[in-house]
Amino acid sequence: MTAGARGPSFRYFRAPSALPGFGLAFGYTLVYLALIVLIPMAGLALKAASLGIAGIIDIITEARTLAALRTSFGVSLAAAGFASLFGLAIAWVLTRYHFPGRRLIDAMVDLPFALPTAVAGIALGAIYAPNGWVGAQLAPFGIKVAFTPLGIFVALVFVSLPFAVRTVQPLIEEIDRELEEASATLGAGRLQTVWRVMLPPLVPAVLTGLALGFARAVGEYGSVIFIAGNLPYVSEIAPLLIVIKLEEFDYAGATAIALIMLVIAFSTLLVINLIQAWARRRFGHV
């Protein structure tokens, strides 16, 4: 970039730099972002706006919509929470213990990232159906997984698991051995050390993982529809309701629900950022 382009008029927007290519890279980023994400989203907003606030509220307060949103958010929260809990344990085991096959298992945690959701859906459906490998074991106890909200839960645990593990794992790796030793020299037993010294700094990461997993779970479609049963008021999720509304030619309804989900997605991102800002202030890291 020439000296001229680094003139004062630019400075209020960005700090000058000797490195070239900002204009090109930034411009391309914006244009691409606008084309792929912003303009289409604006279309959604426009469509929703034509409904008016009252119209939107009408649609999303429909009993069936509310039920679907409740199912989506409730089960997603439960699943992300469950995944976070086990994710913490898994991350702990993978970073702190050495046992045969650890690397393999570590690699496997990313499976839900890489495995297409539809494949996961039919596979989970096949396993947890009353005649599947696991479902058949549970059936005698009257526990039904597939085609119940529990099935949604299973699918969503599957998709949110890697978020839970991968956000805490680096932090566990980073735990300063000296902290544990300091705690021990101060007289704390192992359980006290884990509970009072090692876990609290992980809380923001666990929350971040939970929020990421939740955001992903709420939007998940592919794996859920194969295992959910899709019963209105019981096991119907919001993304499916969007599809159903679309198939009923109810664009307005679909848009309104999509909008609500977008708002939730935005808020979740916001919450994640807040958690991270807070953690940075408090712990000096995320």
């Binding site: 070239p20 930034f26 085991v93 021990a184 592919g222 599809v243 935005f266």
Partner: protein, 292 residues
């Protein structure tokens, strides 16, 4: 596993006593490992096994036949084509975005990062919907484009767009933390040595990020080939034309062709496994240059 005897009482000797300072009791460790293994087996391993066992349930012959079916082949071809378009697009975008974000200071940077992250948390179904709203025959610009003979939704462009949307942040996400950590001094060094901006990028920046880039591309590709929700909304499900592999899985499944469904699924699962293997190899060999 560390070999620590359980009787770590005072008489057990010094070795056993002090190890406790930084690790849990043996029993607790075993318990945790067992829980982990069970959990992962139940949620990750079993589905994977299910895919392959069902795919081969009727023997190898049937398996191959299912994959040689013209519709299946068409789906494979379409999926590869979509990934071949979407991944490079997002690759270029990822590099440009992370260059702008990590090498320069400007206002609204964190807002921009949030926007880039947004597609991660948007439901794939919504991702499909927004393109239908925009490009559908009832949409904002669909009728105009259609009058120009341009078919977006229910055709390749729509499928590509939806795929690009859901895989949008993958490469950028992988690069930004790494490049942030690497700072600008390497590029500055190159400049002081007389390299032009582009030369510096080509000879210094790119090699510095190559493994993270590859990793980002692997994940982006896996997701691009596996996307279901968004694509199903914009696909139109035309046999042999607009069905990607995941959609083909659903279709076969719906035609009672369970073996064929799982056969195609097994291809996707294989792709996932290859992706993970590639990632593990990268991490193992180039761990430090992947560090975020």
């Amino acid at each position: 596993m560390a070999s620590v005897s359980l009787n770590t009482g005072r008489l057990a000797g010094p070795r056993a006593v002090s190890r406790r300072a930084t690790t849990e009791a043996l029993l607790a460790r075993w318990l945790l490992i067992a829980i982990t293994l069970c959990f992962l087996a139940l949620f990750l391993l079993l589905p994977l096994l299910a895919v392959f066992s069902q795919a081969f349930a009727a023997g190898l012959e049937t398996y191959w036949a299912a994959l040689r079916e013209p519709d299946a082949l068409a789906a494979v071809r379409l999926t590869l084509l979509v990934a071949a378009i979407a991944v490079p697009l997002n690759l270029v975008f990822g590099i440009a975005a992370s260059w702008a974000i990590t090498k320069f200071e400007f206002r609204g940077k964190s807002f921009l990062i949030t926007l880039i992250d947004l597609p991660f948390s948007v439901s794939p179904v919504v991702a499909g919907l927004i393109y239908v709203l925009l490009f559908g025959a009832q949409g904002y610009i669909g009728p105009f484009l259609k009058s120009q003979g341009l078919q977006i939704v229910f055709a390749l462009p729509g499928i590509v767009l939806a795929t690009v949307f859901v895989t949008f942040p993958f490469v950028a996400r992988e690069l930004i933390p790494l490049m942030q950590q690497q700072g600008t001094s390497d590029e500055e060094a190159a400049l002081t040595l007389g390299a032009s901006g582009f030369t510096a990028f080509r000879t210094v920046t790119l090699p510095n990020i190559r493994w993270a880039l590859l990793y980002g591309v692997l994940l982006c590709n896996a997701r691009a080939m596996g996307e279901f929700g968004a694509v199903s909304v914009v696909s139109g499900r035309i046999r042999g034309m607009t069905n990607t592999m995941p959609l083909q899985v659903e279709i076969l499944y719906n035609e009672y062709n369970i073996v064929a469904a799982f056969a195609v699924a097994s291809l996707l699962a294989l792709l996932a496994l290859l992706t993970l293997a590639g990632k593990s190899i990268l991490e193992w060999r180039y761990g430090d240059s992947l560090d975020a």
